[in-house]
Amino acid sequence: MPADLTDNNPGGDLSELLNLTVPADLNSVDTITDAIAANLESLQVPEQKRLEIGLAVQEALVNAVVHGCKGDPSKHVTCRMDVDPSGRILIMVSDPGPGFDVERLPDPKQPERTHHDHGRGVYLIRQLMDDVRFERGGRQIRMWKY
């Protein structure tokens, strides 16, 4: 990640495009992904990149709702989207849940896990985005697309 684009740079080089806090249910995921899609289109981000960002954000939001908040709509998930002057996009998703140790997630590409019906979300996010950081004990994900 570029040295000048840290999370200690609030409102510095980054322009905030979206900052939403929503109830933790799957309808809220659609609300946020639609808003992000609209922003990406306004920024004239190429379609392939829009698809990759859209899917990564959806995965992060679903994780926040399902695992972070156990699908409890009385809890809330926050999503923020920023862009830097060169067009690099930063998306942050956070939840109030217990967090998790991302280093202990099994590799879904191991042969014995091929036919598992879960466990691919974080792996997919890492493949789709250029830089992914988990913070606050797994309760927050920060994702860059360059």
Partner: protein, 91 residues
């Protein structure tokens, strides 16, 4: 995710319950497939194969193919351009 995946799961479970084990899934109207969708198709691919059948994909989008490839499951599936070709492949 959500209702779409739940609905598909229910449909496939009912189909399997009826004894049909040769399934085709037309993805022409599905622009992207997320991890829950991938999990579902992988799970039912295994279920159908265990019963001597198969689950084949028709017209996945370029991005869906990319996603399946990224998580290492693309090569598990037979993929066709149209329903007729997929159906014919079962004979």
């Amino acid at each position: 995710m959500g209702p779409a995946v739940d609905g598909l799961r229910q449909t496939i479970e009912e189909t399997l319950g009826n004894g049909d084990t040769r399934l085709i899934l037309n993805l022409a109207e599905v622009p992207m497939i997320d991890s829950s969708g991938i999990g579902l198709v992988v799970r039912f691919l295994a279920s159908t194969k265990q019963r001597g059948g198969n689950l084949k994909l028709v017209q996945p989008s370029k991005f869906a193919i990319q996603t399946l490839r990224l998580v290492g499951v693309l090569n598990l599936f037979e993929i066709f351009d149209n329903d007729d070709a997929a159906i014919a492949s079962f004979t």
